[in-house]
């Protein structure tokens, strides 16, 4: 399971960096979003994708007998938080890019002030 995850992280970071370096504003915003997604996959992979046990999930040890067959819930909580933040930032980036288009009458970052 680790190899496909690693490939996904690498692919997302590569695609995101490529998009970040484009001249078109919307592509840059896409790049921001894709890089963030790469980070989330990475975070999930860091929690381990083994079957859950009490040792792996100490938070759940005192809360019920059974441990669900999931990866580490801590990283899932982290990713949830990070997604919310990234969502807000991407929305702000889209608004800013629209505003920048209005001000500069161009979506090309090289034509900016």
């Amino acid at each position: 399971m680790s190899v496909p995850l690693a490939a996904a992280v690498g692919g997302l970071f590569a695609a995101g960096t490529f998009l970040l370096l484009r001249r078109d504003l919307v592509r840059v915003v896409w790049g921001v979003a894709v890089v963030s997604q790469g980070t989330f996959v990475y975070l999930l992979a860091m929690g381990g994708v083994d079957e859950g046990t009490h040792d792996l999930v100490p938070v759940l040890a005192g809360h019920g007998e059974s441990v669900p067959e999931v990866a580490d819930p801590v990283v899932q909580a982290l990713v949830l938080t990070a997604i919310v933040i990234s969502f807000g930032t991407t929305a702000l980036a889209l608004v800013l890019s629209y505003r920048a288009y209005e001000e500069n009458e161009s979506m090309d970052v090289t034509e900016w002030v």
Partner: protein
């Protein structure tokens, strides 16, 4: 006792919500904003007095959010280091809020200025207090999202472009920070800083391989250097500082930059310093991740001083000069930290060892920079408000036209240059002292480089401070200056800040003891671990 830790955070949050609710009544909103900033400063003072400085204070306190015990719940920690940084934030919050009321008029207040201003301090306070690595990321984001909006606040083409660049850069930085946080979680199995320090100090007992920590901490260093505006991550600084409303620029330079420095000191010296891992890189050698920090941070500091100094000397606007100057001054803060990282940890009293002395020097310089740069950015705003320009070529003769404003600015410039008995003198003296002590006992080449950069940077500082004074305040009065009239309230804030610069310098002894206590807290990993008690059964 421990509720005092969370109080500043709550006060700032309540003020932000209150000012948002009062958006329809600008007068009332401004009063609420000033009252909230005053309450914030008082709460910070009270919390610091009750936990760190007071006669019966325990020295530090931890607050477990929701009563969840340490490694699983979120911990807020107020120890000497956080207390020192929070005090800086409290002082600047009050000054900037008072100035904002006189500067940001209802016409350009646009409802959101004051709520955002206090949300900025929510983020800053959280970042200073948190004892959890992932929460550090979250508080950084709180702070950054607010600053994106502030940079874009005036909505001009330049402001929008600066904000967009700042946003993309910082989102990428935050992604890298998440990578580092995730890697550290996978390595150590915890996110709580105290728990991480405990596990890294004794890796065999917890089955931790500390080797990846060196690389992951290097990634964190890049992120924090980006937030602090150290070279080579300084390029967003001049644009963003020029675009943001000036009172907010004062807060950016005085407080949010320090969050990056604080994070470096906290994570490297409190958390990673105990990890026994041999660093074997070309030109770098040592037994903790600090060995890697020392040369890299020193190089960044030296480059920052050079870039900031020359940039400031060559800039034609007051705001740009001070923005570049603040890049250089962060280098002055980074260099003693690098010396501290290279120094051997000495058992016993940390306030006597080179490591403790150097961190104390960095903290005193941070305090000096916050006060002086706050004063100078606010003075720039006052000059711009009075004359309509901050181009040095359009200014002249301000000293005769507005003597009080010019006098306050003069105190700021003198402190920047480092004249006794102002705070800047002690900042410079202590950083040079740390470098000289480093020459005597420890890493000679690094300390020599630091010393040379500090002295060269001081010369550059004298150059641009003189240039600002001669070009803007002396000479023949220009038409712009002749027309302008200063605002009494703005000048009063400047005078208060100038008096603070003098007062901290004259009554320096207690300030230095506070900085020493902060440095001792920064290097005392064991006390930090004991305080948070990350064994899972700790009491709140």
């Amino acid at each position: 006792m421990s509720t005092a830790v969370v109080a500043p955070l709550l006060v700032a949050l309540v003020t932000a919500v209150l000012t948002l609710a009062l958006g329809r009544y600008p007068r009332l909103q401004r009063r609420a904003s000033v009252a909230g900033a005053l309450a914030y400063a008082v709460t910070v003072g009270g919390a610091v007095w009750a936990t760190v400085l007071g006669p019966s204070a325990p020295g530090a306190a931890a607050y477990q959010v929701g009563d969840w015990p340490a490694p699983f719940g979120i911990t807020l920690v107020l120890d000497g280091l956080s207390a020192f940084m929070l005090t800086i934030a409290g002082a600047l919050a009050l000054a900037a809020a008072l100035f904002s009321v006189r500067y940001v008029t209802p016409e350009n207040q646009r409802v959101y200025y004051h709520p955002l201003f206090h949300l900025l301090f929510v983020g800053v306070t959280g970042a200073f207090l948190t004892g959890d690595l992932f929460n550090l990321f979250v508080w950084f984001e709180v702070m950054l999202v607010v600053s994106y909006v502030f940079v874009a606040f005036y909505g001009t083409d330049r402001a929008t472009a600066a904000s967009f660049r700042y946003l993309v850069l910082n989102v990428f930085g935050s992604a890298l920070m998440l990578v580092a946080v995730g890697g550290l979680y996978a390595t150590t199995g915890t996110l709580n800083m105290a728990d991480m320090a405990r596990r890294l100090a004794d890796p065999a007992a917890f089955g931790v391989d500390p080797a990846p920590v060196v690389g992951l901490s290097a990634l964190l260093l890049a992120v924090f250097a980006l937030k602090a505006g150290l070279v080579p991550f300084q390029f967003w600084v001049p644009d963003a500082y020029a675009a943001a409303p000036p009172p907010v620029t004062a807060v950016f330079a005085g407080v949010t930059k320090k969050v990056g420095i604080y994070a470096v000191v906290r994570l490297y010296f409190t958390v990673f310093a105990a990890a026994p891992v041999a660093v074997d890189l070309p030109g770098v050698g040592g037994t903790t991740p600090l060995a890697f920090l020392a040369p890299v941070l020193a190089a960044m500091g030296v480059a920052s001083i050079a870039v900031g100094g020359f940039g400031a000397v060559g800039h034609g606007r007051l705001e740009g000069t001070f923005a570049y100057s603040s890049v250089g001054q962060v280098g002055f803060i980074a260099l003693p930290v690098a010396v501290a990282a290279a120094a051997d940890p000495v058992a016993g009293d940390p306030t006597e060892s080179l490591r403790g002395v150097a961190i104390a020097a960095a903290l005193v310089f941070a305090l000096h920079h916050a006060l002086v740069k706050g004063l100078l950015f606010l003075a720039t705003a006052a000059v711009e408000d009075a004359t309509g320009t901050d181009e040095l070529s359009d200014l002249g003769g301000l000293a005769g036209h507005a003597p009080v404003l010019a006098g306050a600015t003069f105190v700021g410039l003198l402190s920047l240059v480092g004249l006794p008995p102002l705070t800047g003198f002690f900042g410079k003296l202590l950083t040079v002292d740390a470098a000289v002590r480093g020459l005597a006992v420890g890493p000679e080449r690094l300390s020599a480089a630091a010393l040379a950069a500090l002295l060269g940077g001081a010369v550059l500082t004298i150059l641009y401070a003189t240039r600002v004074w001669v070009g803007g305040f002396w000479g023949v009065r220009t038409p712009a200056v002749e027309r302008g009239g200063t605002d009494l309230g703005q000048v009063a804030v400047l005078v208060a800040l100038a008096l603070a610069v003098v007062a901290v310098g004259v009554g320096f002894d207690p300030v230095y003891r506070f900085a020493e206590a902060a440095a001792a807290a920064a290097v005392d990993t064991e006390a930090y671990v004991d305080l948070v008690d990350p064994t899972g059964g700790g009491s709140a």
